[in-house]
């Protein structure tokens, strides 16, 4: 038995510890609160202020989670019991540390656990929620409009028309190309690993550094208008404001090249960041895109305080994998052509 087929005992031990430590909202509590379940009545948390008087969201945070965006089809309840949640996490975490069968495609990969990249080895957040989506109440993305369906089909057709996935770099996924991570958002969906954020505030601005591909969002709070509709960006253009303790950020002007769940470029994302505990920010977002979904839908997830640092995630600069993949595809083609020629000549 190869040692690599063992789940590292240390990981499991750590995992157990984390499950105990991570705050878990009580099922049945108002969904917007994320108070602790340590048995005592939770006091409403008032965040400290930055020197210029903003509620202080600063620090390193993660939204790494095992909770899926959409509720699993066979789950009907909104919340698990704490025991069910812990069991579910343990099961998935074990699977993540599970080793692959040698000689299979899945095995052609470095070992995430060896690089600390499986979720159990870093801080992750959890709630008892069975899905991140809280509205509609069934916890799933509403069905698409006909226009939305058509757009999704058109995009797929356009991709297909470009040829094979490895015919050229432009045919490859934008994340692999280091342009932007598919989940960079907004909304900020949890990356598979390095799902970390650094928030820094200065008078008039909130900055959020996303670890993956060093994406920075600089959100002005001065009430300035959105740029004209002709100015569009991969991550849109964000404008923020404070509503009490909550940072509300509205983002429009997407370029539509990294569509979130099939959305159009005219999607409007409203995000709400509320510090609900010393080590928790409750992150909620609402997607409003009538041409894709008849009515807006919303999700929420806690962000947990984590430790830094966020080391530079230069991506494009040493993205050797891209060249290797393309070279590999060309080598495959050459081999296939030679084999065909050989067969033909017989």
């Amino acid at each position: 038995m190869n040692h690599r087929f063992r789940v590292p005992a240390r990981v499991l031990a750590t995992l157990t510890l984390i499950v105990v430590l991570v705050s878990i909202p009580v099922a049945g509590q108002a969904p917007s609160t994320a108070s602790r379940t340590n048995g005592t009545a939770a006091k409403p948390y008032t965040p400290s202020r930055t020197p210029d008087g903003q509620p202080d969201l600063q620090g390193f945070w993660t939204n790494s989670t095992y909770t899926p965006l959409e509720r699993p089809k066979d789950v009907t309840k909104e919340y698990y019991t704490p025991e069910e949640a812990a069991a579910a996490i343990k099961l998935v975490a074990e699977r993540e540390n599970e080793q692959t069968e040698p000689g299979t495609t899945a095995d052609v990969h470095y070992d995430f656990s060896q690089f600390g990249l499986d979720r159990s080895q870093s801080t992750f957040t959890q709630s008892l929620r069975t899905s991140l989506i809280v509205d509609p109440p069934e916890g799933r993305i509403p069905s698409m409009t006909a226009e939305g369906e058509k757009r999704v089909a058109d995009r797929a057709a356009a991709r297909k028309a470009l040829g094979g996935q490895y015919d050229s770099v432009q045919n490859m996924p934008i994340g692999s190309r280091c342009i932007v991570m598919a989940g960079a958002g907004p909304p900020m969906m949890n990356a598979g690993y390095n799902a970390n954020y650094q928030i820094v505030q200065a008078a008039g601005y909130v900055m959020i550094l996303t670890e993956m591909i060093h994406d920075v969002r600089i959100i002005p709070l001065d009430g300035r208008p959105q740029p004209p509709p002709g100015v569009r960006q991969w991550t849109g253009v964000s404008r923020g404001r404070w509503e009490g303790q909550t940072l509300v950020v509205e983002t429009t002007n997407f370029n539509g090249k990294n569509p979130f769940r099939g959305a159009s470029e005219n999607m409007r994302v409203t995000e709400r960041f509320t510090r609900t505990a010393e080590d928790t920010i409750l992150y909620k977002f609402t997607i409003d895109d009538p041409s894709t979904w008849a009515k807006p839908w919303s999700a929420e997830m806690p962000m947990a305080r984590t430790q830094g640092p966020i080391f530079e995630f230069a991506c494009h600069e040493t993205n050797y994998g891209i060249a290797n993949i393309l070279a590999g595809a060309r080598a495959d083609e050459k081999r296939a052509a030679e084999a065909a020629a050989k067969t033909g000549s017989k």
């Binding site: 770099v169 200065a202 393309l326 060309r330």
Partner: protein, 272 residues
Amino acid sequence: MRNRLVTLTTVTVIAAAGVLLTTTAGTAQAPAYRAPRAADGKPNLNGIWQALNTANWDIEAHAAGPSVVRELGASAAVPAGLGVVEGGEIPYRPEALAKKKENYTNRLKLDPEIKCYLPGVPRSTYMPFPFQIIQSQQHIMMVHEFAGAVRTIYMENHVEAPADSWMGWSNGRWEGETLVVDTKGFNDLSWFDRAGNHHSEALHVIERFTARSPETLMYEVTIEDPKVFTRPWKMSMPLYRRVERNAQIMEFRCVEFVEDLIYGHLRKQPSK
């Protein structure tokens, strides 16, 4: 009609003369100036800043020159500049000077900027793109429009760079009116400019940011790299605030602009 012509010509001429009047030598010592304070009492350097010089083409003094790509004609030609290096010349070791010349000759192939690579330090500061300072007590962020390059200046918990990187590992401190940033942990892949001025992974950069008026900062840099230079040397320049009301760091995700250049030869049908 004739009068109007006279007026127009005169206006043009005076404007031409006026331009020079305002561009007095940038490296003059900043006069004593006390910056407005941020809420924590430190000099407030928050804002969107940009260099207004030709250091990104060549940090040393240089005359105008043609574009390295014929098709781009005047649009990519090199504007002349008097340089930002104090004392005029960079004190290269002989073999390092030879490498600089080689870099220059082969700049179309070698300049990391062309490939949309993170620009390194201090080049990120004087690229012809704005950058924004977001200043908190623990961290001062410098977010650059070019390639979305970002620096975290650690104002507390100073540690050594865990690994080498493009933008280095920056520890900062306040010295009176001045933000002093000490950066090490660079790789040897970034350049100082398009002229091929270079460094090794032993690079140590000390930057000093000092407000010199409400809308300008003085930016002074000391470069140390004993593998490449015979002694430490300095550059300095003013940085200007982008005062437009709608000034904003926009996306300049240049990767997709260079993919065909870098990977085009690996296309199924190679691009010409």
